[in-house]
């Protein structure tokens, strides 16, 4: 126990004396939060739109007009060719397409269920989601303005964009910051603990102090706990700072339990610190460790649903995300923030995350040897 405290004291002294490290731990996350939150998530405007009007009726023109009047959408193209839309989307010329099928107005007058197709480019899933939300809002309003007693229009459209509906439910103002900022919290709780633990252990390897520690009676678990505990404490400090900024500056709604968030964060931190230790066991220089950690990080972030919603990924890729512990924590944190979900709703994701946590930390501890290689 005394030896663990010795290690911890030494670790804290080194971290607080290391200016660049302090910067990485405390300044970078805030900058990241500010940049990401403002850059990615401010309102989406001037979405490039293609319109296909097979109906060519007064109603269809009115609908198109409603889209052209808002600055959210810029109609770039009128066409009768559906293939062209496909090509335009691939070449980034259009982001969303509005297709009014022939017979739309007739259906509407007859009181049958009229259909409108909207397809959005899912590559930038976040923008797509927001664009779909705006489109839906316009169509709903259009229906109401017309005093149409037939609400089936909205219902039909809703059915086409089921994902959107589900999300808007909890994020009513469609303010994507509410969605992105909790995601950034997850990203930070991934990068910082993983980098800290990998870099700190590899640095000791590089300068030779790890070898020195290995010839002392310090046991492996004492050495590792002496490293892990300070990183845990720092990560929680980090979490507290970032959450304070998120809530006070971005007015992010935190609807869930702080205790639950802290407890599940612990499980996730064990995973990311474990990854860092694991990386340190097969790298020899800080550059190598940085590179490998960066690789893990990019994979984890892309496959977590942070930028690209997992539902928008091809099926095979979706299956791949189940290998990613961050995927589960991303879902958990967003649910806690936005829906205020309790543990019973999060049990499946939590169980998966814990499962990975146990595997990773066990592997890391097992691979970490009190011998040189």
């Amino acid at each position: 126990m005394k030896r663990i405290l010795q290690m911890m004291q030494k670790e804290f002294r080194q971290i607080f004396r290391d200016r660049p490290m302090m910067g990485i731990i405390f300044i970078v996350p805030l900058v990241q939060l500010l940049i990401l939150a403002f850059a990615i998530t401010t309102d989406v405007k001037h979405i490039k739109m293609s319109v296909v009007d097979f109906d060519k009726s007064a109603i269809s023109r009115e609908i198109i007009n409603a889209f052209s009047q808002t600055e959210r959408f810029d109609i770039k193209d009128f066409t009768q060719d559906l293939h062209r839309i496909d090509n335009d989307m691939r070449s980034w010329k259009t982001q969303i397409a509005l297709v009014i099928p022939a017979g739309f107005s007739k259906d509407m007058q007859r009181g049958a269920k009229p259909q409108i197709h909207i397809s959005a480019d899912g590559v930038d899933g976040n923008t797509a989601g927001i664009a779909l939300g705006y489109a839906q809002a316009i169509l709903v309003k259009y229906g109401l303005e017309n005093n149409s007693p037939d609400v089936s229009l909205t219902r039909r459209i809703s059915l086409h964009i089921v994902n959107m509906v589900e999300r808007m439910w909890y994020n009513l103002e469609l303010d994507s910051q509410q969605f992105m900022v909790p995601g950034i919290v997850v990203v930070l709780l991934t990068i910082i603990p993983m980098m800290l633990s990998a870099m700190s252990l590899v640095k000791e390897k590089e300068i030779g102090t790890l070898e020195q520690l290995m010839v002392t009676p310090l046991r492996k678990h004492q050495l590792l706990l002496g490293k892990i505990i300070p990183f845990l404490i720092l990560s929680y400090l980090e979490l507290a700072i970032v959450m304070t900024v998120a809530i006070l500056l971005f007015n992010i709604a935190m609807n869930g339990s702080y205790l639950l968030l802290a407890s599940l964060s612990f499980l996730y931190l064990i995973t990311t610190i474990g990854l860092g230790i694991f990386i340190s066991t097969f790298t020899h220089t800080q550059q190598q460790a940085m590179f490998v950690a960066w690789f893990f990080m990019v994979f984890m972030i892309i496959m977590s649903g942070f930028f690209i919603p997992i539902d928008n990924m091809p099926g095979s890729l979706q299956a791949f995300t189940y290998l990613n512990p961050m995927r589960f924590f991303m879902a958990i944190i967003r649910d806690i923030f936005q829906k205020g979900s309790g543990l019973s709703y999060l049990s499946r994701d939590s169980a998966m995350m814990t499962f990975y946590g146990i595997i990773i930390i066990t592997l890391a501890v097992f691979k970490f040897r009190k011998r040189v290689s």
Binding site: K2, R3, Q6, M7, Q9, K10, R13, Q14, R17, D18, I207, G208, T209, E211, Q212, L213, M214, V215, T216, P217, L218, R219, R371, V372
Partner: protein, 245 residues
């Protein structure tokens, strides 16, 4: 306390097919200054690492302070001091913090550590540097501090791997004075070096080439045996002989 500090027979370390240490058998007596000579890559560091429990031997037997290399490597660690080829104190801690840390890791109590710290810093004339960062210390002083720190827990053997590489000649002599004092207190010193003049200061030396010991004796005996004036020339002679075989 056994009179034999280090004893090995047929100690071997292979990295894959490569034999870094090949069937080495030595006996080192308590209080002896035992020198390990050899060209780059001869296997000196590998040998020391096995004796310190940092590497598991591939085969052979070994005892350090009477404790078995395989079964009792954790107990060996309490009884030995080790200075690796790299400087192994924390540059971003002060001298005082480094001593506190290593003392604590060896389980010494704070009053003992404080006492030893004051004594060590005074011996090295580093008392004014006490609260300066270790990284700012001139290289000549670092070696002495590292040795002192590696011996806080009063080990019965110290393993020094090229302790004087990169150190100026006068600091080297000062360092060897410390080694002599250490040995005179009954502590065994196991030291590797590239410097042939340092070999002359050892009680016994072993010369290693590609993992094998090709000569082991007192420096004067070796000079006599090969009828050469210095260990330097004995070494060159042996190396030439080894390379023609």
């Amino acid at each position: 306390m056994s009179e034999i500090a280090v004893q090995t027979s047929g100690l071997t370390k292979k990295f894959g097919d490569f034999v870094a240490v090949d069937q080495v058998s030595i006996d080192v007596k308590r209080g002896e200054i035992f020198g390990f000579l050899g060209a780059n890559g001869a296997g000196k560091t590998t040998m020391i690492r096995m004796l310190c429990g940092l590497l598991k031997p591939t085969s052979g037997e070994g005892k350090v302070t009477g404790l078995d290399l395989y079964a009792e490597s954790e107990r060996i660690k309490q009884k030995i001091g080790y200075m690796s080829q790299k400087f192994s104190l924390y540059n971003d801690l002060t001298l005082s913090e480094n001593i506190d840390f290593y003392g604590g890791i060896y389980g010494l109590n704070p009053t003992d550590i404080e006492f030893k710290k004051n004594q060590l810093l005074a011996d090295l004339q580093l008392t004014p540097w006490r609260d300066k960062l270790t990284g700012t210390l001139p290289p000549g002083f670092k070696q002495g501090l590292a040795l002192g720190t590696a011996m806080l827990h009063d080990p019965s053997i110290v393993f020094l791997d090229e302790p004087t590489s990169g150190v100026d000649p006068s600091s080297r002599r000062a360092f060897w004075d410390v080694i002599y004092q250490t040995a005179s207190r009954g502590i065994t010193v196991f030291v590797t070096t590239h410097f042939m003049d340092e070999a002359e200061y050892c009680h016994r030396i072993s010369i290693m080439s590609t993992g094998k010991i090709i000569a082991l004796d007192r420096p004067d005996n070796l000079r006599e045996k090969y009828k050469l004036p210095t260990i330097q020339s004995v070494f060159v002679h042996l190396m030439r002989q080894a390379s023609t075989h």
